[in-house]
Amino acid sequence: MKLGLDIAESARISLSALMANKGRGALTALGIIIGIVAVITTMTAANGLANNFKETFSVIGADVVYVSRMPWIIRGPDEFARFNRRPQIELDDGERLAQALRGRAVVNPYVGTRELVRYGSKTLDAMQITGTTDKMVVMSGTLPETGRFLMPFDLQYRRAVAVIGWEIKERLFENRDPIGEKIRVGNRDFRVVGVMAKEGQGVFGGTSTDVEVYIPVTTFAKIFGGRQRGFDVDLAIKGMSPDTLADLEYEVIGEFRKIRSLRPGEDDNFSINKLDTLVTAYNNIMGVVVGVGLMVTGIALFVGGVGVMNIMFVSVTERTREIGIRKAIGARRRSVLMQFMFEAGVICLFGGLVGIVVAWLAGIAPAWKGARQDPIEALRYE
């Protein structure tokens, strides 16, 4: 009943007190503003990084299981040494796995090396050369922008054909049509049959098709297979439905143990990898990063809070007499408390709102840039 009047009076008093000390209140609010902006920016950045991560690694495919010699995440040199002793995964292993999973999953091998790529007088150093099959299209869903992808007969006849990434095409051919041209990969000539669509690169610099050259895996084996001690194949397995990824993983482990003739009780001498593992690892790292970031920005906010506390102490001290007068003429404890709470509340609320607006304006800059895009330019952008 009296509460409403108390609030009205508190509002009136604290607002007039704040108006009498505008500069002081504004500086105190600045502490809160900085704190709020810091916290919001950190959270937005963390969110942005998480989205960027997902985009970057979407190439991997959320519904694909990989069989590799090494796991994607290795903890320390000891683990590396242990995994490095494992037998290599051969192309034959992939074929046997494909046979075993026939009708249940698609198996596609990937094998890679780095080679010099040359066209005419232009050379590109250490480009990623990937040997794969026509099934890659099923795996990643990416298609060439011009020309065609690898075909079964390319593989069967070990043809020297290549599908090149968008950036490689730009750097070697500029505006010329690369289809049918001969490029040199290592010391072999390949005929370009397709150009992949531009993919762009995420901040994490994950694999991008833009800087890769795809050749038939059989051709790869013929040319590069003889050197070193052969090559290591990654097998990508995609099930019929993304919902059954866990089942697929078990099946793949079972079938591959059979291929490897492992007895029960023996450890796997291969690794199962999937996007999930990366995401988990990423979340662990980002969890720590974001946690530390929020802690630091939280301290900024806390310092802002200390500023408010300080200013309230000053405010109470310099109004000792006013409090005395109010109490003498009948103010209860609650009334006096509310008066100062209200004042602190106004400073904090003001600081918080301005902080949100500042953070929001910071987000407007990119949005503004987006909004004023020339539609023709925007459509051309891939």
Partner: protein, 251 residues
């Protein structure tokens, strides 16, 4: 030593019995009041006098419900003030006591109207009637044209009149004035005292705390304190008419 029991006008507004107040300062105990018994009835006009250190201020704080006795009892209109909590005392001060201080004690940032209506704000009075009563009180002290001035735009006498309006507005049982003319020149002081006289004439109970005989002379009864005890309690003789009243025309 004269210790005549003053005639009570009506039933007692204020009844102190053997009130003792002790303060602990460091490790010494100071007995500011050592057993004060005092009865003040409705519509009395009492001056409390005494040299500094006599317990005058302590007694005033006690009567004004700003402090509670260490022992003894204090009944304000039959209410036992001695055993009340802080918030209950705040309510009693709000409803029963109107303070007028030597230093005026107005809120500097609030205008006259807001200062005067403040007790009603804390009493929970709705805005409209609060405003109406505050304006009436302001008019009563002759400051109707100054209702929206800030205290620093007023003279000392005007400020004290604002304080009187603030003391009056809640219609209190007692107006408790502590050296109300202490910060004013003698002429303005007389004006303020005439205002108290008028309030008394209209039925208000007034307690003045002062060390000036001129001021005390306005009251109908004088209570003198010394060393924490009542030294004398006398009814003033024929009211001395202040000389200034003859020259200054009444409002």
């Amino acid at each position: 030593m004269e210790a005549t029991q003053a005639p009570a006008a009506g039933s007692p507004t204020l009844l102190l019995e053997q009130v003792v107040k002790t303060y602990v300062m460091g490790d010494t105990e100071v007995r500011a009041l050592r057993g004060v018994s005092l009865t003040i009835g409705r519509n009395e006009y009492v001056a409390i006098m005494g040299p500094s250190g006599s317990g005058k201020s302590t007694l005033m704080n006690m009567i004004g419900c700003l402090d509670t006795p260490t022992s003894g009892s204090y009944l304000l209109e039959g209410l036992p003030v001695g055993k009340m909590s802080d918030d209950e005392l705040a309510d009693i001060r709000n409803r029963k006591i109107g303070f007028v201080f030597q230093t005026f004690n107005l809120l500097p940032r609030a205008d006259v109207l807001h200062n005067v209506e403040l007790p009603l704000v804390y009493a929970g009075e709705p805005r409209a009637s609060r405003r109406k009563r505050a304006l009436e009180a302001i008019e009563r002290v002759g400051l109707a044209d100054r209702a929206h001035h800030k205290p620093n735009e007023l003279s000392g006498g005007q400020r004290q009149r604002v304080a009187i309006a603030r003391a009056l507005v809640g219609n209190p049982s007692i107006i408790l004035a502590d050296e109300p003319t202490g910060n004013l020149d003698s002429r303005t002081g007389e004006e303020i005292m005439r205002m108290f006289d008028e309030l008394y004439s209209s039925g208000q109970t007034i307690i003045l705390v002062t060390h000036e005989d001129d001021i005390a002379a306005h009251a109908r009864r004088t209570v003198r304190l010394r060393d924490g005890l009542i030294e004398s309690d006398v009814t003033n003789g024929a009211r001395r008419r202040p000389a200034a009243a003859a020259t200054a025309p009444g409002p």
